[in-house]
């Protein structure tokens, strides 16, 4: 069942939560993103899709301030991320939640202590309230009773849900998901998908999701950007993308081998050839 609210791009009178203008980013000589611009509407769930190595995760890392752009501007809640000092970045990150691809739970801490870490670090809440908050978050991801387990005792799907509980424990206004459904079984995928929508709407957050799972994203997100060939190759609601006549969008959404999005790695320097 589709969960998307079909919120589209920011309306003229609505200030976007994220505004990216003319963004350029390179790893050494290899340009990953070349002059891309987009706005993200407040309260929406937006997906960045595209082939492997296209720069989807790079977009998330730029928005979280882990990477600095070579040129262009990234504004979140009106704050320019690219020129922030380390201290300002740490302050900014208190208001964002990030779910990394593998969950990245702290392996030497229990589930409870994993979720408690941001609370203990950034708040002065009494222990009783911390415990209550953690139990609420754990219950909301369907994992009540697992608080004393260690991360290695959890399945992949459970670990991802614990990581989600940890990421939202401070009620961030912006949530970034990096491949949240990779490696999960179909039931876990549906569970995580429902949780993402419920969490986003219940807490009034905005969510950015990096993925290449076209089917699941079409059921969840409000708006999609397809990144390929260093540019935004296509954008629109899942319904718009599904009916798009654009050859690049059509190739990616329908998984076609032939099309403008290349299969082979496009390295820097002269073209590589099997002959001569």
């Amino acid at each position: 069942m589709s969960e998307n609210n079909n919120k589209s791009k920011p309306q003229a009178n609505q200030e976007p939560i994220i505004s990216v203008k003319n963004l350029v980013f390179s790893y050494g000589r290899h340009t990953i993103l070349d002059d891309i611009s987009f706005d993200i509407a407040r309260g929406s769930i937006v997906a960045f899709m595209g082939p492997s190595g296209a720069g989807k995760t790079t977009v998330l890392r730029l928005i979280s301030g882990q990477l600095r752009p070579d040129a262009g501007s990234i504004q979140v809640n009106g704050l320019e991320i690219s020129s922030m000092s380390e201290k300002e970045l740490f302050q900014y990150r208190r208001n964002i939640g990030v779910l990394l691809q593998n969950g990245a739970l702290f392996t030497d801490l229990t589930v409870f202590e994993n979720i408690a870490t941001p609370l203990r670090e950034h708040t002065e809440l009494p222990e009783a309230l911390i415990r209550r908050l953690i139990m609420i978050k754990l219950n909301s991801v369907g994992l009540g009773g697992t608080e004393e387990l260690m991360p290695h005792e959890l399945s992949g799907g459970m670990a991802r849900r614990v990581a989600l509980a940890r990421a939202v424990v401070l009620d961030p206004s912006l949530m970034l998901y990096d491949e949240p459904m990779t490696g999960l079984d179909p039931i876990a995928v549906s569970t995580v998908r429902h949780l993402m929508r419920e969490t986003n709407d219940a807490l009034g957050m905005t969510s950015l999701i990096v993925t290449h799972n076209v089917v699941q994203m079409s059921k969840l997100v409000d708006y999609c950007y397809i990144i390929a060939g260093k540019k935004i190759a296509g954008e629109g609601t899942p319904a718009e993308l599904a009916s798009s006549q654009d050859p690049g969008v059509d190739q990616f959404i329908n998984g076609k081998v032939e099309g403008p999005i290349p299969f082979h790695y496009q390295g820097a320097g002269p073209a590589w050839s099997l002959v001569g």
């Binding site: 979280s64 882990q66 302050q91 964002i96 990030v98 990394l100 990245a104 670090e121």
Partner: protein
Amino acid sequence: MAGNNSRMMALAGPLQSAGQCLLFLFRMLAGIRLRLDLLQSTLQQTYLIGARSLVIIMICGFFVGMVLSLQAINALEQFGASDQVSLLVGKSLFRELGPVLTALLFAGRAGTSITAEIGLMRATSQIDAMELMAIDPVQRVALPRFLAGLISVPLLTAMFNALAILGSVVFAVGVMGLDGGIFWSKLQTSIYFGKDFMGGVWKSVVFGGIVSLVAVFFGYTAKPTGAGVGTATTNTVVLSSVLILIFDFIMTSFFV
């Protein structure tokens, strides 16, 4: 000219690493905030890397004491001075062998585990997760382990020395039949608290700092791959061992 250039290039790498290592130390120390969780995690790490190194340190200390006695007795017997064995064992232990061997064993036992643990945290994105939660991983992960190393090595050195003296007594008195009273009185009168004992303590503090700094630095900067963590672990043992011996000579030359 080309030879000079290649020598400069060969020096540039280690010098750059040394500079980065020192900057890492300043970053750790500059951000220290005296908090209860820092104390707790430092104590926990002291247990994990210090207390858990006790067995190997004690076993090695005992056998080093025995072999020192054996060598000393063999050498001193030629001059009819085998009753001086405790003097020779004590001086060499407290001044040199205790701090140096303990630090080398600590580098192999705990330094590698620190580097591998932090490197694995890097490889499994746990360090990234901390940064993204606005938690400084240098303060949270590296600093407690550095402080724990600083605390542990002098304490382990004391245990090493104690067990080495015990090993020496067991061999010299128990096996070779030297007089126990002479052994202990010579040890008591010939070992000076300031020059011998404290000289070794200061060395062990410096060695503890070197090993734990090198270990946390290489772990923190390890490439997030299996090979990267392996290389970082090897670098920890190699560099900390070399630095221990270099600093041992420098400290002995200037201060002892």
